[in-house]
């Protein structure tokens, strides 16, 4: 028998901040997550589908947005942290952006002047890209990893010098410019002109 602490931390190591969210149950844990950005009739609710977790649904109006965040409580460091999410995108249409990762803002998390490290399927794209902000500017790098509508595991690892993005355990790209310079929170973000959906059934974030 070992303890949970020692399963996650080498002996003698002081644990750093960590969050595990299973997105299971009657309601979103609103003592943890907030929806400070629900526009155009968009919603964020618990799914009733097997493996469905939480589902963000676009309101079907132009530029409708749904964002889950931590009410701008930013405990995860730009110098060493990891974000892991299990998600499913409903669409790769030209009118939909689907994003997970870390940002300094829980509204409009993927634009300057935010500090951010995010992976996205963006408007009309057929492959993932990784975008980041340093508090002044925003930039992105495309990958060759193709977007589909199956469940996947995405991971962002920040080490202070760059951002590694992996999908299903395989490194897709490393970004080293315009990287964040301040702490952030986990965010899940949908921006769509149609009633697109994004399911997320697991999210884990920790400082390293």
């Amino acid at each position: 028998m070992t303890d949970f602490y020692d399963l996650l931390n080498p002996h003698g190591t002081v644990a750093e901040q960590r969050m595990v969210e299973y997105f299971t149950g009657s309601h979103i844990d609103n003592s943890r997550w907030v929806t400070n950005q629900l526009t155009g009739g968009s919603t964020a609710t618990m799914s009733t589908s097997i493996d469905g977790g939480v589902i963000l649904t676009g309101g079907g109006t132009t530029n409708a947005k749904a964002t889950l965040g931590f009410n701008n409580v930013k405990q995860y460091t730009h110098t060493g942290s990891v974000f892991i999410g299990v998600y499913k995108f409903s669409a790769t249409q030209a009118s939909t952006i689907q994003t997970l990762g870390l940002s300094s803002a829980d509204s409009n998390p993927r634009s300057a002047p935010q500090n951010a490290a995010l992976f996205s399927c963006s408007t009309g794209a057929t492959s993932y890209y990784v975008e980041s902000g340093d508090g002044l500017n925003f930039a992105s790098t495309s990958t060759s990893a193709q977007v589909d509508t199956n469940y996947h595991t995405g991971k962002l690892a920040l080490d202070g010098a760059g951002i590694d993005f992996s999908i299903d355990g395989v490194l897709a790209v490393r970004r080293t410019d315009t990287i964040p310079t301040a702490p952030m929170q986990p965010v899940i973000h949908l921006n769509s002109d149609i009633a697109a959906t994004m399911n997320v059934n697991y999210c884990e974030v920790y400082n390293t």
Partner: protein, 210 residues
């Protein structure tokens, strides 16, 4: 060896993790009023109170002719026939029908897979339903001790296995009427007969799709 993440404690990153729930039932209040994870599906003003004592977890109390039933408000993210349910619990009453397991609807036996301790029967039972019911009676007598139940629903291999305190129950395997429906973990307590108060304590629940 330390794992880098909770994710990697149970899955390599090359495997996409399925829905998974771990509930410790520890803290001030476990909300069952439709604002938190759990939901009240009972009748006649049941109670769901976190216990102020060692290992108490949450106590479900069914009153009078009613019952206490706790579930996830029919947010059925789990596959009843292809998931594993683990819970540590204790029934406390002399005249009691207490269940723990997976149900499509916490107040229906249809499309479920759960363990039953019923004072009107001598032994622990595994009840499952995929449209029609199957009752599997183990050789283990019902009791009022803390116990860990594990139900491995494996539709792909046509079996449901009930383990008690880490040991596969003697005559604890069902091979018929395995559900294909979505479901949620559920705990239930009421009188086996007549009217009165029954209680059921739960201090751990874990469910994951396989």
């Amino acid at each position: 060896m330390a794992f880098p993440s909770v994710y990697e404690m149970t899955n390599p990153l090359t495997t996409v993790r399925k829905q998974h729930l771990v509930e410790w039932f520890s803290g001030d209040v476990i909300s069952t009023d439709g604002t938190g994870r759990w939901n009240n599906h009972g009748s006649n003003a049941p109670l769901y109170l976190v216990g102020d004592g060692e290992n108490c977890g949450i106590r479900l109390t069914g009153l009078s002719v009613g019952y206490a039933s706790m579930g996830l408000n029919n947010k059925n993210a789990f596959d009843v026939g292809q998931c594993t349910f683990i819970s540590t619990f204790r029934r406390n009453s002399d005249n009691q029908n207490a269940t723990a397991g997976m149900r499509n609807n916490p107040v229906s036996s249809t499309n479920g897979s759960y363990m039953l301790m019923d004072t009107n029967a001598n032994n622990i039972q595994l009840l499952n339903n995929g449209g029609n019911p199957t009752t599997t009676v183990t050789t283990t007598p019902i009791h009022r001790n803390w116990t860990t139940v594990k139900i491995e629903n494996d539709r792909a291999n046509t079996s449901i296995k009930l383990s008690l305190d880490g040991v596969l129950a003697s005559n604890g395997t069902s091979t018929t009427n395995i559900s294909s429906a979505g479901g949620q973990p559920s705990f239930f307590t009421m009188m086996s007969s007549g009217s009165g108060t029954t209680t059921l304590d739960v201090n751990y629940c874990e469910v994951y799709n396989t």
